[in-house]
């Protein structure tokens, strides 16, 4: 059995003269929570639609759960499309049973699972009400449950958080985490960095139809230069004091009776060394806070470069992502 739930290699999809997906490759390890990130129009949905066999790629290959994309292999995959909807006149339990049966689950088991899932996610009281009577958040939960009702090995969710309020976003997040804990592979696309940052082990960043970065979350965050925020009392010039000791500090917007600085951290123990330099320079520090890189910063850094016409792989130190997430 392959270690990878999904392997995508050199996918290309062109619409007329527009190349929507341009040689995308990435792999998703079994049991991981994997994020597909990128701005709108970057090629995320097109890639995912090729992955689940809705679109045929012009070039490239997709391997799902160790085999080619087929009706049989897709039975072990759950998929939630972007811009989704449900049959408004059906009931949540009816829809879940319908999806499950189309995926090959026997009717009695499908009914049992549907009721159990709805109960588990606070929708038991709505099981037999029509979809049109549900709120948007509830309907979206039903849709996500529809991608999980047949207990697939790989769950692919295209923008599962879009259109949800913060409370429902948390619910969906919990749902995804639960699937991850259950040992299932979850791949979801999003343009909200915080979700991916909180949940993903590995990510692929899309820009202009290309995978600009693919790797572990830590690796992406490490691409952002580290820094520390400092505050000094009075008119103390921290930049001048640190320069002889090899640290560059830049003053940021002034505070109330204090001066604020951002100093770059480079190399091993840079944080400790910077603090020692400040102390030896007699800096009247009121704040010393090493900052944590965010995925948003990593994205802007990595994809900002990739969005330029130059080959993004050269500037980003691209490596073939065969073992990513393994």
């Amino acid at each position: 059995m392959s270690d990878h739930a999904l392997q995508v290699s050199g996918l290309v999809k062109t619409y007329g003269s527009h190349r929507a997906v341009d040689g995308v490759s990435f792999s998703v390890a079994r049991g991981s929570v994997f994020g597909v990130l990128g701005p709108n129009g970057a090629g995320k949905s097109t890639t995912l639609r090729m992955v689940v066999g809705i679109l045929a790629p012009d070039k490239g290959e997709v391997s799902i759960l160790g085999g080619a994309v087929s009706r049989q292999s897709l039975r072990r995959v759950g998929y939630l499309p972007e811009e989704r909807g449900l049959y408004r006149s059906m009931t949540p339990s009816g829809i879940l049973v319908y999806w499950a049966r189309l995926k090959g689950v026997a009717a009695p088991l499908a009914r049992k699972r549907a009721i159990a899932l709805l109960e588990e996610h606070g929708l038991g009281g709505y099981a037999h009400k029509r979809i049109k009577a549900l709120s948007k958040g509830m309907a979206q939960k039903v849709q996500i449950l529809g991608a999980m009702i047949h207990e697939p090995e790989l769950i692919i969710l295209d923008e599962p958080f879009s259109g949800l309020d913060p409370v429902n976003q948390q619910t969906v997040e919990a749902l995804i985490r639960a699937q991850g804990r259950a040992g299932r592979t979850v791949l979801f696309s999003t343009h909200v960095m915080e979700h991916a940052e909180r949940m993903c082990d590995h990510i692929v960043l899309f820009a202009r139809g290309q995978a600009a970065f693919c790797g572990a979350m830590g690796e992406a965050l490490a691409s952002v230069p580290r820094a520390a925020l400092l505050e000094t009392e009075g008119g103390f010039d921290l930049a001048a004091a640190l320069q002889p000791q090899g640290f560059a500090a830049v003053e940021e917007a002034p505070g109330d009776g204090v001066r604020r600085w951002r100093a770059g951290l480079d190399g091993k123990d840079a944080s400790r060394r910077l603090l020692a330099a400040c102390v030896s320079a007699g800096a009247p520090l009121t704040l010393f806070e090493p900052t944590k890189a965010t995925l948003h910063e990593a994205f802007v850094r990595l994809v900002g470069d990739a969005a330029s016409p130059a080959d993004p792989r050269k500037s980003l130190g691209w490596r073939t992502p065969v073992d990513v997430g393994a």
Binding site: R49, G53, I54, R75, E83, G85, Y87, S89, M90, L102
Partner: protein, 482 residues
């Protein structure tokens, strides 16, 4: 196969569970009844039109009134004939003869009802004569200028709520043997009244001319009564043609209309259903589980099952009523009941439905798969709807002459065959006349199924859209360049 069944089942249950199904179940037969009875209902619902005649010679005025009286008698005869269609043929025929033998409307009706009462007393008792279409009133003025306010409705004939405008006035001018009718009316489109006035006066002028040429008035009256007795036969049959013999033709036309209504509404259902699934991406979810061709087949089967349910209910309820009504009577109803028991008509209906449904159904499904909204589909659907309406224009010609070259020719056009062949089904088609067009349609349906299946597959997977098709349409390139 399992996925096809699941999709078909969902489609079927969704439509059956919707209000629209039950509404169309009830309204479709009602619409058919209303369409059939609309001309009579509209006519009877319209209040009597007030007309006046001004003539120097009172006999000219009387002649014009006679023209209208003849028309009222003909209308009464039609209403009586329609009501007597459930009566046994012999009774209806005798009543008709008694009606024709009487001179005026009142005595004709009394004579006919007396005869009808012997064979169908209930019918004779319940028959209601239609209200008169025209009522003559004394002219409110003697010239056109004086009549104008009455004709325009500015002044009314009668008092209060009972007051009505004058519909028309006839001013007869005589110069020797010449006559001129000045017809005044605010209604410039209706030609019936002026035609009746002209016919009435023409009868008098002809009679005058014959008398002036030496014919005795008594002889003239006798001559006017002369008319041949007409008996209709059909080649190869000895018995006279009756309403019972005409029934199969009417049943075939009725079935053609049911067929057309069903395919028209079902195609619409398929179109809107697939557009809904395409626009909200349900189709995407389906496509990860089911092949596009299975989705297509499932939808076709589900909605076909819905149609069979409709036919079963309509056939069951309508058939029970018809057979009940036909059991105690003869004439048209008995003939219709007999025709519905004829396997030939039902086989043609079933084959025509299957072929028409597959052909139009897959086309509409394919169009739906290309569109994200109903508005977007209109460019392709509108010409198709026009094509669907075209065979209905042949309903009346096919009833009058099912073997007319135009009707026969249309029965060989595969897109029209299901409907036109059904219209012709009672006309004694040879096996070749039925099997030929059906075979051609079957081949066409197969071709359409294959082609539309490909389009559906491409449309469902968003590889093809209506925008792509527009590029191939004539003038599209030129428009794009401009």
């Amino acid at each position: 196969m399992r996925s096809i069944f699941l999709i078909a089942r969902r489609e079927y249950l969704t439509y059956v569970g919707a209000w629209g199904f039950w509404i169309s179940l009830i309204t479709t037969p009602l619409i058919m009844v209303v369409f059939g009875a609309a001309p009579t209902l509209l006519r009877n619902a319209e209040p009597a039109r007030l007309v006046s005649v001004i003539a120097a010679d009172p006999l000219d005025a009387a002649a014009i009134k006679m023209g209208f009286a003849e028309e009222e008698k003909a209308r009464l005869r039609g209403a009586l004939r329609l009501a007597a269609q459930s009566a046994p043929d012999a009774g209806a025929k005798a009543a008709s003869e008694a009606f024709d033998a009487a001179s005026d409307s009142d005595s004709a009706l009394a004579a006919a009802l007396a005869v009808l009462a012997k064979t169908d007393p209930q019918l004779a008792k319940s028959f209601k004569a239609p209200p008169p279409a025209y009522v003559f009133v004394d002219p409110p003025a003697r010239d056109a200028a004086g009549l104008a306010p009455y004709l325009k409705g500015e002044r009314l004939i009668g008092e209060g709520k009972a007051g009505k405008p004058l519909f028309a006035a006839f001013l007869v001018e005589r110069t020797g043997t010449e006559a001129r009718i000045a017809y005044w009316s605010d209604n410039v489109t209706d030609t019936e009244a002026r035609g009746l006035a002209r016919d009435g006066l023409r009868e008098r002028m002809r009679a005058q001319a014959l008398i002036e040429r030496g014919l005795a008035p008594s002889s003239l009256a006798q001559i006017e009564q002369i008319k041949p007795k007409l008996v209709q036969f059909r080649p190869g049959e000895q018995a006279e043609i009756t309403n019972r013999d005409r029934a199969p033709f009417l049943v075939a036309i009725g079935l053609a209309f049911v067929l057309w209504m069903s395919i028209f509404s079902i195609s619409n259902m398929l179109l809107t259903g697939v557009i809904e699934e395409k626009s909200n991406k349900i189709l995407d979810t389906l496509l990860t589980s089911v092949a596009p061709t299975h989705i297509l087949a499932g939808k076709l089967l589900g909605v076909a099952a819905l149609s069979f349910t409709l036919f079963l209910i309509w056939g069951g309820v309508g058939g029970t009523f018809l057979f009940q009504a036909a059991a105690g009577s003869g004439g048209l109803l008995a003939g219709a009941a007999e025709a519905l028991r004829d396997p030939w008509l039902l086989v043609i209906f079933a084959i025509s439905f299957v072929l028409g449904y597959v052909m139009y159904g897959v086309i509409f499904l394919a169009i739906g798969s290309l569109c994200e909204s109903l508005q977007e589909s209109q460019a392709l659907v509108s010409p198709l709807f026009l094509m669907l309406v075209a065979p209905m224009l042949l309903l009346v010609p096919a009833l009058q002459n099912p073997d007319a070259p135009l009707v026969v020719g249309a029965s060989w056009v595969p897109l029209f065959t299901p409907f036109v062949l059904m219209m012709r089904a009672a006309s004694g088609l040879s096996l070749w006349e039925a099997a030929g067009p059906l075979a051609l349609t079957a081949l066409t349906a197969l071709g359409v199924l294959l082609a539309a299946g490909k389009v559906f597959r491409a449309g469902a997977t968003s590889q093809l859209s209506i925008a792509d098709l527009r590029r191939f349409m004539p003038g599209a390139k030129k428009a794009a360049k401009a």
